[in-house]
Symmetry: C2
Subunit: 305 residues, 2 copies
């Protein structure tokens, strides 16, 4: 089964305390689509300008990503520039140039509308809803969001929430959306807003998954050095959605989501080891399997008599 | 096998955004000893004044805690008063009256010096070392510490570290002790200072356990409401040490420590559900077993075909 991914495609300039790189492949949909592509075929919906490097197109195609939903239009590609502080946790956005992304309307080609697993990567919630408007009945819809939309498009976001099966957001956003300081209360409250499942990402502290009376706490992989956190959350969402598309037969249950969250975390842990999507270019199935086993080892405990 | 616990015994006044209680049983050794007592017999070393309520003595005795090492002297018991902010994570100390604790010298009765499992709960590192000076060869020594000692008694703490098997401290203290922002690097660096094992407590984010090439990430139990975080870390250390004393035959290995960390987390999760040690007064083995199973459930994942 393939996964439909819609979101932003960008050229990023990223500065960390030790390095700076310009014109990197970025955007929520790029990370999410490539993350998902390790598990299942992907259909990508997004927009780029006529300056978008053909190398990036070739890379995406090479990852078995269907670009039938990629609009390439006159003008410049969306550009984002950000800087990470010394702790690699705090990020400042230095500039945002929406360019062709400003008037993006995601349009699904004929072969896309019956996709069963849908990942609405981080873009305006009105656009995420517009994608759902075009679809027949998808089996499982995952939405990612960010603080910006909670601030400026809350009504759109709430309308979207009633239409999705799972929301992914980080700890700060969960607190902002619900007004709850406890993430346990926040997770429960978001479920009341619509999504049956909620994943709250906590960066170096891992991820919490909430379902109907069920709860899963996923550890973060113990990385000594993080080279570029950009796209970690998008890669997580992509890996999660790709794993579901590859493995789910019938209704998506909590057991499948547990494993999906671990595979998403595996993908994200690789992604932050290098700038942009560089690490994912060389990542192998064997790398993924080996790190999945590490997640098992580091989470495992049993009573010893 | 019994566990030797040394630390402070206090009468606490604790204020949270919703409640305030005075003259509560507190202190690192009280929490640690009671935590350990759910798994093994405990020998307690500490000091109280002649104002220490006999009810507290009776409670400790009733928990199968040997009070042969408890000094009761003329004067007032150590008093501590603190206030938790709205998020229940930030704490301000309002007052500290050391009283009889100021000139405390822990002295081990004859039957205590050959204890095999030793928990040096949070007191000055020079006193923790003084306890070890009086002992024959304990099998496994665990020390807890706090930011105060890293600030004012770093040399004493470093001298202690070369003599203990395991150090327990929180995330902020680990960063402070090592100068590393990454907890993964901090854990490795503390191991180089002496302890074969390090547990870094992260409050609502759980706990990281470091060994020789081994790593365990323990989730925190998802509590909706925390009534009093005081003593959570001491109870964790006590539960951990008590479990080891009850279960270990031969050298302590990483597998046993994984389970010990989970049982410590189970005990701590109960302790914060009420003020002081109130929740531990009614806690049953069945409560502990049931929450241990919850820890398994919330940490468990498997690939679904």
């Amino acid at each position: 089964m393939s996964v439909l991914v819609v979101g932003s495609i960008a050229l990023d300039t990223v500065k960390t305390p030790v390095e700076e790189h310009a014109d990197l492949l970025g955007g929520s949909a790029s990370y999410a689509a490539v993350g998902a592509s390790f598990f299942s075929p992907v259909k990508l919906v997004g927009i780029v300008g006529d300056d978008f490097p053909s190398d990036h197109i070739d890379f995406l195609k090479g990852r078995n990503i269907d670009l039938g939903g990629l609009q390439q239009v006159p003008g410049k590609t969306f550009r984002w520039s950000g800087e990470y502080m010394w702790d690699m946790n705090t990020r400042e956005t230095r500039s945002v140039d929406l360019n062709v992304f400003e008037h993006f309307t995601p349009t699904l080609p004929a072969g896309y509308t019956d996709s069963q697993i849908v990942l609405l990567a981080n873009i305006a919630p009105s656009l995420q809803s517009h994608v759902l408007d075009q679809m027949s009945r998808p089996q499982f819809v995952i939405a990612d969001t960010m603080d910006l939309w909670i601030n400026i498009a809350r009504a759109d976001l709430e309308a979207l929430l009633s239409r999705v099966d799972m929301l992914i957001l980080n700890d700060g956003e969960a607190r902002q959306l619900t007004g709850e300081t406890s993430l346990i209360k926040a997770g429960a409250k978001i479920r009341e807003m619509g999504p049956k499942f909620v994943a709250i990402k906590k960066g170096e502290h891992g991820c919490l998954l909430f379902g109907d009376g069920e709860f899963f706490s996923c550890a973060a992989y113990p990385l000594e050095d993080i080279h570029d956190p950009t796209g970690a959350g998008d890669t997580f969402a992509g890996g999660l959605a790709g794993y579901l598309a590859a493995s789910v037969r019938g209704p998506v249950g909590f057991a499948q989501l547990r494993a999906a969250v671990v595979f998403g975390s595996v993908l994200a842990s690789f992604n932050v080891e290098a700038f942009s999507l560089e690490r994912l270019r060389t990542l192998t199935q064997s790398d993924i399997d080996s790190r999945y086993q590490s997640f098992r080892l580091m989470s495992q405990f049993e009573v010893i008599g």
